[in-house]
């Protein structure tokens, strides 16, 4: 045990100094190193050289703490470690690890401060550091904000390098050969005579020496993996039906559960009658849960059937009952004091003139609707709680489950499961909470709770509905004044304060995300955010505020450029104040041969959005056929600084475009009688394969910081589509979904 203590003290990584070519976290409160969580249950011949690398007799395990919801996070994290550790991706295992403060997410903190991503000034940098310190102290192990690569790019490569050099030092000690003449390759240290010592055989020795913390990271020209096409670690399993998602978890003696919750979301259960349901085949128990009733049975379908047979008496709506009320709330919010004014340059009031252009834009509520309905398995036994669930917030879930089960958080063991999508839904943990309530009634028995698709839809936490009111003026062929006001409910308050109990004082910058922080130089430019009250509970939805605000900003900018008689692309390039973004715009112009003759009934549109520090420009080309609009081509140019895996990168960008276009075309969530009206995919279709355009992607690498790509391709899709529809048909779309106004093929 003495050994563990010594290593525990040196659980370095975060807070380490003197890492050549890497980060040197230094001067804040967070200097104090955090415990390496891998040391807690290590066998005697195992070594956990950093919180990210574990080596035992079976081989090398890379810990990939950012959740994989389909975006390839495990692979990309593993690749960053493997690059320096000199192991092959098909020879290692990945493990999401356990919830631990060691895995706090620094890049996410960068988004939580009121400085534009392009702002690298001293104030902005200092503020990001402070928020980062707070997140570290709170141990925010969160997957979100397209931050996995941004957060891990240095950290994970350093982890790999530290582990490699420590293994080499151990080999030197063991063999008497000088470290300088040792190499590493394919998961082994190689002696000058060619003898290979597998890392496994060095693990015990390595655990007894001081880790080597002075490491030099490899230069890009030396990289074997990064930047080259790689086979994702989960591709084969996902192509053979052998990958187990949370919904596939199988435990001995497991029972299957369903819930029926108050359709007036968040409303209470006033009473219920289970007499018809309780004698149905396979039913074991019917119990009340928060806001509804749970049925525990021996088969999911039987649980669904019985849940439908429970007669419930539901409490009243807890927010404005009808959709019209929600729009009215959004309208009223414009009359309230601003939540923030992210930008106020020049003199908007005096330059708008007597007859400014004005427009009102609207975006509806949306559901996350990942294809895997939310689910969890919980086993409560002898004061210990085990939870198998897909989650982007394991630490929150641990605390929430502990509170329900009446145990200390340390007694709750989260087993992170692969997710069949998330789009933000797995930042919530209502399914784990409900499942814990059910498991309390079935101690000693693992309970799997699967939300039916209908329950998943009707109890999702939504992408905010929002309204933008915009005014602008043009002069001399360009935009002279732009005044943007937006009204939306606060995601931070709803998601973090109300559901996770984390106080969120101050303005919510996501309300005007992608409005105030765009790299355009307009002389008179003002952005005001208003916070709407009494709305449905809202949540982070793939690209958060940018998902609706890019449509507002770019849609209205297109109107102004049209009014100025300018070219949509040339004007954007002329207004752009950021070199990296300007190149992205120029590149999408070259890719699409912007300006070439398109032929009759065709149209094109361009839109740009910088979100999470990643600039993305998209050009949509379409044809207005007699049977409806057919989207032919989408060209995407972006810049994340460094592409780790070009294959997965292209797939994510294409998927983001499909996601953005599909929701803009035909998706909305509406409220009636205090509840969500849409119940399944026939009322919330998204894009189908036959509607999918050719999508051509180009990644530049000029961004000075490494950025993520999970969300940024989504925001420009809707405004580029709207602009192309205007070009082809003359119809200006100011409200989503567009199929309310035009037909699609």
């Amino acid at each position: 045990m003495g050994r563990l203590k010594t290593i525990g003290r040196r659980a370095f990584l975060v807070g380490s100094t003197a890492v050549v070519g890497g980060v040197a976290f230094g001067f804040y409160l967070y200097k104090k190193p955090v415990e390496n969580p891998l040391l807690a249950d290590l066998g005697s011949d195992e070594a956990a050289l950093t919180p990210y690398v574990k080596i035992d007799a079976e081989g090398v395990t890379l810990i990939t703490p950012r959740a994989d919801k389909g975006q390839g996070a495990y692979s990309v994290q593993a690749a960053m470690i493997a690059e320096e550790l000199d192991v092959e991706l098909d020879r290692i295992r990945v493990d999401p690890g356990v919830p631990s403060p060691a895995y706090w997410n620094r890049a996410l903190a960068d988004e939580a401060v009121p400085f534009a991503a392009t702002d690298q000034g001293a104030m902005a940098t200092a503020a990001r550091g402070t928020v980062g310190a707070v997140m570290k102290i709170m141990g925010m192990q969160v997957t979100g904000g397209s931050s996995t690569v941004a957060d891990g790019f240095e950290k994970l490569r350093i982890a790999g390098a530290v582990a490699r050099e420590t293994l080499k030092a151990a080999a030197a000690q063991k063999t008497g050969v000088a470290v300088a003449s040792l190499r590493s390759q394919g998961g082994a240290v190689i002696l000058p005579d060619g003898t290979e010592i597998p890392y496994q055989e060095l693990a015990a020795d390595a655990s007894r020496i001081e880790p080597v913390t002075e490491v030099v990271l490899r230069q890009p020209e030396q990289w074997r993996l990064i930047g080259k096409p790689m086979l994702r670690v989960d591709t084969v399993a996902k192509s053979t039906g052998t990958l187990d998602y949370g919904i596939d978890a199988k435990l001995d003696g497991m029972v299957h559960a369903a819930v029926v919750l108050n359709p007036r979301q968040g409303g209470v259960l006033s009473g219920y009658d289970a007499s018809a349901a309780k004698d149905m085949r396979g039913v074991k128990k019917i119990v009340p849960v928060t806001g509804g009733v749970g049925v525990i049975a021996d088969n999911t379908w039987r649980a669904f059937q019985a849940a439908a047979a429970v007669e419930c008496d539901w409490g009243p709506a807890v927010f404005a009952p009808e959709m019209a009320d929600h729009w009215a709330e959004l309208e009223q919010a414009f009359d309230t004091d601003p939540d923030s004014r992210g930008r106020d340059e020049g003199d908007v009031e005096n330059t708008l003139g007597q007859t400014p252009l004005t427009s009102e834009y609207r975006a509806p509520y949306l559901a996350h609707a990942p294809l895997e309905p939310i689910n969890a398995v919980v086993l409560i036994k002898d004061g210990r709680v085990d939870v198998w669930t897909g989650t982007q917030v394991p630490r929150f879930t641990q605390n929430n489950v502990a509170a329900i089960a009446g145990v200390e958080p340390e007694q709750v063991h989260i087993h992170a499961q692969m997710m069949g999508g998330s789009f933000g839904h797995r930042l919530e943990d209502e399914v784990a909470r409900r499942c814990t309530e059910l498991a309390m009634e079935m101690k000693g028995v693992p309970v799997k709770l699967t939300f039916s698709r209908e329950q998943d839809f009707s109890h999702d936490y939504l992408r905010p509905a929002a309204i933008a009111r915009m005014r602008g003026a043009v002069e001399g062929g360009t935009v002279k004044a732009l005044d943007l006001a937006v009204s939306a409910p606060s995601v931070l308050t709803s998601q973090m304060a109300e559901r996770q109990g984390m106080p969120m004082p101050g303005p919510d910058s996501s309300i005007s995300q992608a409005l105030w922080d765009q790299p355009y130089g307009i002389e008179n430019y003002r952005v005001t955010a208003h916070r709407a009250q009494n709305m449905a509970p809202v949540s982070s939805w793939r690209s958060v505020g940018a998902s609706q605000n890019a449509f507002f900003h770019e849609g209205f900018l297109s109107e102004l450029i049209t009014a100025a008689g300018g070219d949509q692309l040339e004007q954007r390039i002329a207004l752009c104040t950021d070199d990296v973004s300007r190149r992205v715009l120029e590149t999408v112009g070259e890719m699409s041969d912007w300006g070439r003759e398109l032929g009759p009934d065709r149209g094109r549109g361009v839109a740009f959005c910088m979100s999470f520090g990643t600039p993305v420009a998209e050009v949509v080309e379409l044809t207005n056929t007699p049977d409806g609009i057919r989207i032919d081509n989408v060209f995407v140019a972006t810049d994340v600084g460094r592409v780790i895996d070009p294959v997965n990168f292209e797939n994510l960008v294409q998927g983001g475009v499909v996601f953005g276009l599909g929701h803009a075309m035909n998706c909305e969530i509406t409220i009636s009688d205090g509840g969500i009206e849409q119940t399944n995919f026939h009322e919330y279709e998204g894009m189908r394969l036959y509607q999918c355009p050719q999508i051509t992607v180009k990644a530049l690498e000029h961004n000075s910081r490494i950025r993520g790509i999970g969300e940024p391709p989504v925001p420009p899709a809707a405004p580029a589509l709207a602009s192309a529809i205007f070009d082809a048909t003359g119809v200006r779309l100011r409200e989503m979904p567009f199929n309310k106004f035009v037909d699609f093929l």
Binding site: R232, P373, R453, R688
Partner: protein
């Protein structure tokens, strides 16, 4: 009740109206077929009955009158079906949750139409939803699989 799945025979004691999907998943532990919508909208649950692609969420087990094949029975890591090999070559999957169903739909479709046009592929594969938007890669993988099945 008897059921043949991936070549193995099972004796079942379940309600005949239980959807095949839940028999496979919860009674037999065959979880390659996924639950996505339960109402024949998404295709995640697609399996074959005598080679024909069906939505197992919407087929009552009592009505099954042929051999059931799930993704697990189509091919394995060691001996991949041509469609699975193409799915790996093109790295189609993101979350992958829809892909069992996509692969089963494609395999059955190519069985019936060995030289599909782009329009044929679009029509055949549009009943399967992919929330992650992997459609461009699905198209490419179906073409590769078709070529391989034709010995090209």
């Amino acid at each position: 009740m008897k059921l043949t799945v991936n070549g193995a025979d099972y004796a079942l004691d379940v309600e005949p109206e239980m959807p095949l999907l839940w028999v496979l998943r919860d009674e037999l532990g065959i979880t390659g077929p996924k639950y996505g919508c339960g109402i024949a909208q998404c295709g995640a649950c697609t399996v074959h009955i005598d080679g024909m692609a069906v939505r197992s969420c919407s087929v009552e087990v009592g009505a099954v009158d042929g051999e059931v094949t799930t993704i697990e029975g189509l091919g394995t890591r060691e001996s991949l079906h041509a469609v699975q090999a193409a799915w790996i070559e093109h790295q189609v999957a993101q979350c992958g949750y829809c892909q069992s169903g996509q692969i089963m739909a494609a395999a059955s479709f190519l069985e019936m139409n060995s030289e599909p046009t782009d329009e044929d592929i679009d029509a055949a594969m549009s009943a399967n939803l992919c929330r992650c938007g992997t459609y461009p890669r699905i198209r490419a993988a179906v073409k590769t699989a078709a070529a391989k099945l034709n010995g090209a």
